[in-house]
């Protein structure tokens, strides 16, 4: 189970409206037909953080250990898509993998 804050891309002091806005933006970007598993995860994350009571409960009671994806998201979040440089493409075409 992913860290819901990282999944929704919000800070740990986010309030109700920030949580909702992040959730709506996330499901718009990833509707269920595109990635059903991620959609479910987003929904679950939202349910965990929806209200202040939910967020405090999550901090107190959630025992889920971090996943590699949490560590990656926390240390170096995903940014805008990039294009490879020509050298990388050439090495791929040369069969260097």
């Amino acid at each position: 189970m992913r860290d819901p804050y990282l999944l929704l891309g919000i800070a740990e002091d986010a309030d109700d409206s920030a949580v909702e806005a992040a959730y709506l933006a996330a499901i718009k970007a990833c509707p269920p037909e595109r990635d059903a598993a991620r959609f479910q995860a987003l929904r679950h994350a939202y349910e965990q953080l929806r209200t202040q009571r939910d967020r405090v409960a999550h901090a107190l009671f959630d025992r889920t250990p971090p996943e590699p994806a949490d560590l990656l998201d926390r240390a170096a979040p995903v940014g805008a898509p990039r294009r490879p440089d020509r050298a990388l493409v050439n090495s791929l075409l040369r069969g260097e993998d």
């Binding site: 971090p66 560590l71 979040p77």
Partner: protein
């Protein structure tokens, strides 16, 4: 010796075959067809030494090609190249293979590849295209080195500048230039696959479906396939991508990561994490977090560290300390203890753990000014043990903790409302808890606080109505129900709850002989009844109520309802359940309504009757023995084989819940005739026959049930398999299969007598079935008693005697009959006379005590 060494040794020790050439050729062909290329190579080589036949040389060429591809697939490119070279050395007329040329390109032997390209006209068209696409890809990757060696008019050379410009434009993010460059690449170009891939990449990340479709047009063995594969990786769903990324490395994955927006730092971190394996151990992650604490954020790192300590707690604490971080705070230590107790499901320690944490938080809150978050934290800690272990479950049957623990939790949950008074669920949970245990005063106290905060909330209003019904405050309940229905006019639950409450109250009044008050209750209930079922219930109860004052009118009313219900089994079930609820003798009522003569119900009637019985059970009804006895016979007459499978399953389940095991057995056996060996029916047939288990472990029915268990498992019907297993477990008992080592088997123990059945009931029912004389004979009744009963029967009729015995029976159930038999339940109906047993009965004996009249004869 390693496998490789063994293989080499085996290869060296291969001796020439002694087979005649034709047989050896046949064997070589068989090896080739079965992809045993090494054996095929050996055989064909031996044959060619004997005679250079063209077909044997072709066979050897095929065997070399097969082996080369086999080695290449294993990543043994150098070894594969040797095979290709061997193949090429067989003669100039051996047709060039595209795989060979691809291998030449891969290993950097472009000169040889280009030489063979000149001969490519001998290849199939598809192979030619594949080869040209591979050389085109190398032309782009290696630049002028290759292009200059191609003829000037060769499309690979001619279109290379446009393709290279397109690639540059894509990499630079210059889409207009990309479009322009792509327009310079014709459809039948060796760079066509590149054009498709670049178009697909342009669609990322907004149009993944279109991008996927574009990539599908590129063959997997195209020279540009590595680019296609990188794009396909980038298109994977998030979770699958990360899984793949942790496994795969290299340029393909690097390009995919870039396409997904991964910064270089993240890609580098991925490399580090992938070394921890697919399922990184908590200790490894702990070390990773400790090492990168500042990058991850110290607060976040410590929170996640706590969670990683849990799997091997408490030993993990030592390993954590060895890493050298600052120790855990008091609160963190208590928190991890609480999680640990939850993990090992230690209910008692869990309750005390959270209580301790709440105490610590309260102490700190009182020292300083508590924020809203502090207050919530306290409230949630106070509620946690209950929520985690469901200690304040609404059903008292599910109480699973000692009373003092329950009391402690209850007090903490109530206390939590001081810290977080806005949690409606907690109010409702407490109300349900108190209501289920009959603590109306406490329920009302919590309800008052909830109603003050949420006066118009539906759930709170509904709880208010239910609490009012519990206390018999029907008027108040009606007022609340009206408020609920104003907000939610189609709330059937509220209507049904009110109708049920009024009905229950009406029945109570009927038992107290207050038919006038009962009628009022029924009138009040009618105001709320909307469903057909509710109306039926009210009509039947009204008819039963009327019987006391006006027998004919009551019977007529009930007759009309029975007719409405089809005068069949469904009508019987409806009348029996309603009569029993007001302690009437169901069989007598059926007799009076002439409903006992129904022989075989059709499928619709049977299903309707079962649905009615199911509804009764769903609402918490429990059929009395009298009901079961009365319904057993008509139900047993039903043709159970006429039901569909789903209906038959549902019927068996209803009969199980109703305790009608004889009928269930019949229904299950009928179903087994249609669906031979069906595990669910095997279970019902067995369980109905042996409700307490069969202790003869070698009984053929036990063996049959075991076969049904196997079949259920094979069919993936886990639910039925579990149920059968439970039935079998009940049969084997604590000493396994076979008889108990003790003198008595559990079957020898009689079930506890049911509290709702008086010792007189079987006798009463016997009289109804076989008549007074035979009943007295059957129970060997003493002669003086027989004389007395005969006298009553002679004077009042057998029906009146039955009613008299019924009153005695009720008296016994109610705790004895002080001062002799009670007065009759009802006065004789106005104008009604008991049915005379003889002419002398026509004159009532005023000196005799009033006796119960047979209202149904």
């Amino acid at each position: 010796m390693s496998k490789k060494q063994k293989r080499r040794a085996a290869s060296r020790s291969r001796k020439p075959s002694q087979l005649p050439p034709e047989t050896l050729a046949e064997q070589a062909r068989q090896h080739l067809d079965a992809n045993r290329f090494r054996d095929a190579i050996a055989d064909f080589k031996q044959l060619l030494k004997q005679e250079p036949r063209p077909e044997w040389r072709d066979g050897l060429a095929d065997a070399y090609a097969g082996r080369a591809n086999e080695l290449a697939a294993k990543g043994m490119h150098k070894e594969a190249m040797v095979m290709w070279d061997n193949r090429a050395a067989l003669g100039a007329d051996v047709p060039p293979s595209v795989d060979h040329l691809m291998m030449l390109i891969r290993t950097g032997r472009l000169e040889s590849a280009l030489d063979q390209l000149a001969e490519s006209s001998k290849m199939a068209k598809a192979d030619q295209d594949r080869l040209r696409s591979a050389i085109a890809a190398q032309t782009l990757a290696q630049g002028a080195d290759i292009a200059d060696r191609l003829p000037a008019e060769d499309p690979i050379r001619r279109q290379a500048p446009a393709a290279s410009a397109a690639l540059d434009a894509y990499c630079a993010g210059n889409d207009p230039a990309l479009r322009e460059a792509l327009s310079g690449i014709p459809f039948r170009s060796p760079y066509r696959d590149l054009a498709q891939i670049l178009k697909a990449l342009q669609m990322l990340p907004d149009s993944p479906k279109e991008a996927t479709r574009a990539l599908e047009r590129v063959a997997d063995d195209s020279g540009f396939a590595p680019l296609k594969q990188a794009a396909e990786l980038a298109l994977l769903p998030e979770s699958a991508f990360l899984k793949e990324a942790l496994r795969a490395h290299g340029n393909r994955m690097r390009m995919a990561c870039m396409l997904r927006g991964w910064p270089d730092a993240r890609i580098a971190l991925l490399g580090e994490l992938s070394q921890l394996g697919d399922h990184a151990k908590p200790d490894a992650l702990l070390a990773f977090i400790h090492k990168r604490g500042s990058q991850l954020g110290e607060g976040w790192a410590i929170r996640k560290t706590l969670r990683l300590l849990l799997p091997n707690f408490p030993n993990s604490i030592q390993r954590f300390k060895a890493l050298g971080p600052p120790g855990l705070s008091d609160l963190e230590e208590i928190l991890i203890d609480c999680w640990y107790f939850e993990e090992i499901e230690d209910l008692h320690s869990t309750a005390h753990g959270w209580s301790g944490l709440a105490g610590e938080l309260i102490y700190r809150a009182k020292e300083g000014s508590a924020t809203q978050e502090d207050r919530l934290r306290i409230a949630l800690a106070l509620r946690r043990a209950d929520r985690f272990s469901d200690i304040l479950s609404a059903s008292p049957d599910e109480d699973h903790v000692p009373p003092h623990v329950q009391q402690m939790i209850l007090s903490e949950v109530e206390q939590s409302l001081d810290w977080d008074p806005e949690d409606r669920d907690t109010y409702l949970r407490l109300i349900d808890f108190y209501r289920a245990r009959g603590r109306a005063k406490d329920a009302r106290r919590i309800l008052a606080a909830a109603s003050e905060r949420w006066p118009e909330d539906m759930r709170v209003l509904q709880a208010s109505m239910e609490t009012a019904i519990d206390s018999g405050a029907f008027k108040k309940a009606s007022t609340i129900a009206r408020r609920i229905l104003e907000i939610d006019p189609i709330n059937t639950e509220v209507r049904d709850a009110l109708v049920d409450a009024h009905l229950a109250h009406a029945r109570k009044q009927m038992l107290k002989n207050r038919s006038d008050l009962a009628a009022k209750e029924l009138d009040a209930a009618r105001e709320w009844a909307r469903s057909t079922h509710a109306s039926e219930q009210l009509d039947i109860t009204a008819g039963l109520n009327r019987l006391d004052n006006d027998l004919e009118a009551g019977l007529s009313e009930l007759g009309r309802v029975a007719e409405r219900l089809g005068n069949g089994l469904d009508a019987q079930v409806a009348m029996v359940l309603a009569a029993d609820a007001v302690r009437r003798i169901p069989s007598s009522l059926l007799k009076s309504l002439k409903l006992r003569q129904i022989t075989r119900p059709d499928a619709d009637d049977l299903l309707a009757a079962l649905a009615r019985l199911r509804r009764f059970l769903d609402r918490g009804g429990k059929p009395s023995e009298r009901v079961k006895d009365t319904l057993s016979k008509p139900l047993a007459k039903a043709v159970w084989g006429q039901l569909q499978r789903q209906d038959a399953e549902s019927a068996c389940e209803t009969l199980r819940r109703a305790g009608l095991d004889d009928v269930r057995q019949k229904a299950a056996k009928a179903a087994l005739k249609q669906w031979r060996g069906a595990p669910i029916f095997e279970m019902h047939a067995f369980e109905a026959k042996y409700p307490h288990g069969c202790y003869d472990g070698f009984n053929h029915e036990v063996l049959r049930l075991e076969s049904a268990l196997d079949r259920a498992r094979q069919e993936g019907d886990t639910r039925t398999a579990i149920r059968i297993q439970n039935v079998l477990d009940r049969s084997f008992g604590p000493f396994g299969r076979g008889p108990s080592p003790f003198q008595f088997s559990p079957d020898d123990f009689e079930p506890e007598p049911l509290m709702d059945e008086s010792p007189l009931d079987p006798f009463i029912e016997m009289i109804e079935e076989v008549g007074l004389e035979q009943a007295m004979e059957a129970i060997q009744m003493p002669k003086p008693l027989r004389k007395d009963l005969r006298k009553v029967a002679r004077e009042q009729g057998e029906g009146a005697l039955i009613d008299l015995l019924d009153i005695l029976s009720e008296g016994l159930l109610a705790g004895g009959l002080p001062g002799g038999p009670p007065p009759p339940r009802n006065p004789p109906p106005k104008g009604g006379k008991p049915k005379p047993a003889s002419k002398s009965d026509d004159k009532p004996d005023d000196e005799d005590p009033p006796t119960q009249l047979d209202l149904f004869s």
